[in-house]
Symmetry: C2
Subunit: 449 residues, 2 copies
């Protein structure tokens, strides 16, 4: 018999972890709903050709493909290499992110949807990445996106969703950092290398990790001259509060329509409803976000500096979300929550509320058939009051039942044997404080558990 | 450009459907929690050898396998047939049910778990069945199981979970039917053909669909003599209320220890806490449940006869749940909810409450930049009160905004332009009744939406 195991990069979530994760999901879900976003769920499997070519060459390699059932040997024999083999044998693949299925859904349902369509989606995705600490092959994404609206009101709303969720999770000290891709485009323009926008973005994206020295080296390798790199370094050095940064940007980009448009968008987002934010977004000109489909505002949420966790969420605006599937001209803007990292942050800062970790509240001990029959009726009374409770499954020694209560972290046990039944009372033991008191059976359902 | 589509047998769930499904899931989840069951989530992918051989030869063929990434062409060339090809190319497969992953989890975590372990699990599973009406390749299972306890109290608790869930879903007229596999074993024994237990069970299982005549034919084909078939027919004809049926069973099986044990178990389940049930379970000797791993009580929930839907849930006790993975001697008992069918039943009987279908409650019209800025502040007030609300994304014509509200089924719209802002009032229009009234801005958050 082989010792059972699970595939690397995947996880079982036991009761304690599921409850804590549910607390995060529920907080995010309620906030999405509060802001008028609507739930969507797409299939785990998509047609392979829906996914290929959407995530770059590297991404394609990380897509999990599902083997067709039936007679496939003949097809296999035609393959010339492993890549072709995958295409010949697999019609379907596992969802790689939530954005492409969302775009596919919008195109398939374009005639029924009320635009703008504001949807949220909280489902697992799969990537054949090399598993490592904090990186899994199966993980949840939680996305909210708006498609079919160019209004910057959506940007404000999405930033307020971050604000609301992290406020509700009682997370202090997180930062919402924003920038605008048009400003990075303008930067590439004013140094005269618009074609190098992606190279510049990718290099800037590494600033946090490798520092300005290495970024400059990389820019040089990517073909930029010293004078051009100096402009970028000057740009990356823009500091001060939001207003001061906007001011410096306006000077730098005074002749760039693209740059001024980006500044105007940032100003709108920061100035239109400033009082609505509990935590004001920070303009961060060094924010780049590697993926290259963003075209407007970009955002990233950073965990409180005390926990070394980096980004716990991010997003931005991308023009032409659905063009890939034949419906051009629809702009999209969205944000994503990094649930695994948020979990680790809340865990490290001990921010999970007790209620999020509580399963069974009350355990009735089972001392004999007759008293447990009475206990059962009380049990049903508690459940009718919404109190999660159990009766130990069989009469057995007190210490065995006590051990079960401890192992399960049940805060109250109720002990009742023959004499208690006769007196119509029970003993309620508080497992946290260790105190024990007699309570009349008739009053038990109103006891303050 | 290919028109986008999704794999056959899979479904997108749009907002309205997700909300209704959430209502079912949430009702079941809350009940599981109330009864002290704990949540478990296992990975979508299991190692292929965890799954193969657990669902019979037919089941093995229906498992979706995941193609290994990397260089696989060499391996493919060694395969002699399609079956072998799948094994050579795939280490992982999609979850086929929730029971085997549960057993695998229990064995892997046996030293940490408090027994009995009462777990629930609500996750999708995948089967390469031929898609047809009401049968999908991706569908959710909702299971509650207890492992590590022989106590019949668990059977009562699980039946009460059915009772509680369907009561909460306001489903009238459903039936919970129970039987005991030991009685079917005893039947095979008293006709002298214990080896034919599975054949007899499988034939009886079809009674509902094909009628007694065909069942008798099938029994004959499976090698039973006329006199033996007569005993089975007599058994299947047992009628009356639960007590009358128990009486007749006691007579029929008076010399069979196995039969008497089954009757004793049924009596215990029916007689121990009869008042706890809102809908008393019905003893049904013709209930067989095809799968052959059950060894004790079996249960099936039938939809109200008015909707022709058949079973909406089922389960039973099975000895030795975890033996397959090297941990023998642990008995299990569990139930399952058929969420897709429950959905169809609630839909047909119009039992989804309005609240389960409600997204955005209030839409603020956007008439111009200035008044919408005031609207935004009111919007945030409503959200702080927990009222799901939106501001239309841009100033546009009233009828366009009205159309959006209608398409989204938003029950209240709030109209405010320049003059309303000056007077500090808004117009609240009830989209259901068509009535419209002026409300002071200061009172809006307390309005009875």
């Amino acid at each position: 018999m082989i010792k059972p195991s699970i595939p690397k990069g995947t996880r079982d979530f036991g009761p304690v972890v599921v409850r804590k994760r549910q607390y995060i999901f529920q907080t995010i879900r309620e906030t999405f709903e509060l802001f008028g976003f609507q739930p969507l769920e797409t299939p785990t499997m998509e047609n392979l050709d829906t996914l290929t070519g959407k995530y770059g060459e590297e991404g394609d390699k990380l897509i999990f493909k599902i083997l067709d059932n039936g007679d496939i040997l003949g097809r296999a024999q035609q393959a010339k290499d492993s890549r072709e083999l995958g295409i010949l044998l697999c019609e379907k693949a596992l969802r790689y992110d939530l954005t492409i299925p969302f775009a596919r859904y919008v195109v398939m349902n374009q005639h029924e949807l009320a635009l703008p369509f504001k949807r949220y989606q909280m489902q697992p995705v799969w990537r054949a990445d090399r598993p490592q600490k904090g990186r899994y092959r199966e993980f949840y994404q939680c996305d909210a996106d708006v498609v079919g609206s160019n209004s910057l009101l959506n940007e404000i709303e999405l930033l307020l969703i971050y604000d609301t969720v992290f406020t509700r999770l009682k997370l202090d000290g997180y930062e919402v950092r924003i920038n605008n891709r048009k400003i990075l485009s303008a930067l590439a323009e004013i140094i005269g290398k618009p074609a190098l926008l992606t190279d510049i973005t990718v290099a800037i994206d590494k600033l946090d990790k490798i520092g300005i020295g290495k970024v400059k080296e990389e820019l040089q390798e990517r073909g930029l001259a010293a004078s051009e790199i100096a402009i970028i370094e000057n740009f990356l050095g823009i500091e001060g509060n939001n207003e001061e940064k906007l001011q410096q940007l306006s000077t730098l980009f005074k002749d760039s329509p693209t740059g001024l448009k980006g500044i105007e968008e940032l100003s709108y987002v920061l100035h239109t409803q400033p009082d609505a934010f509990k935590t004001t977004p920070i303009l961060d000109v060094t924010l780049a976000r590697g993926l290259n489909y963003y075209t407007g505002m970009i955002v990233e949420v950073k965990a409180p500096p005390a926990v070394k966790m980096g980004s716990i969420g991010g997003g931005g605006r991308y023009d032409d979300l659905t063009g890939l599937f034949g419906l051009p001209g629809l702009s999209g803007v969205g944000i994503s929550f990094g649930v695994d990292r948020i979990y680790d942050v809340l865990e490290e800062l001990q921010l999970f509320p007790a209620a999020a970790q509580q399963g069974t509240q009350v355990l009735f001990f089972n001392l004999d058939a007759q008293s447990s029959s009475v206990a059962f009726k009380l049990l049903m009374q508690l459940r009718n009051k919404g109190i999660s409770s159990e009766l130990f499954h069989e009469p057995s020694k007190m210490d065995k039942q006590m051990k079960y209560a401890n192992k399960r972290n049940i805060p109250y046990v109720i002990i009742m044997g023959e004499s208690e039944v006769q007196e119509q009372v029970v003993s309620v033991k508080n497992m946290v404080t260790g105190t024990q008191e007699k309570v009349k059976m008739a009053d038990l359902a109103d006891y303050n558990f």
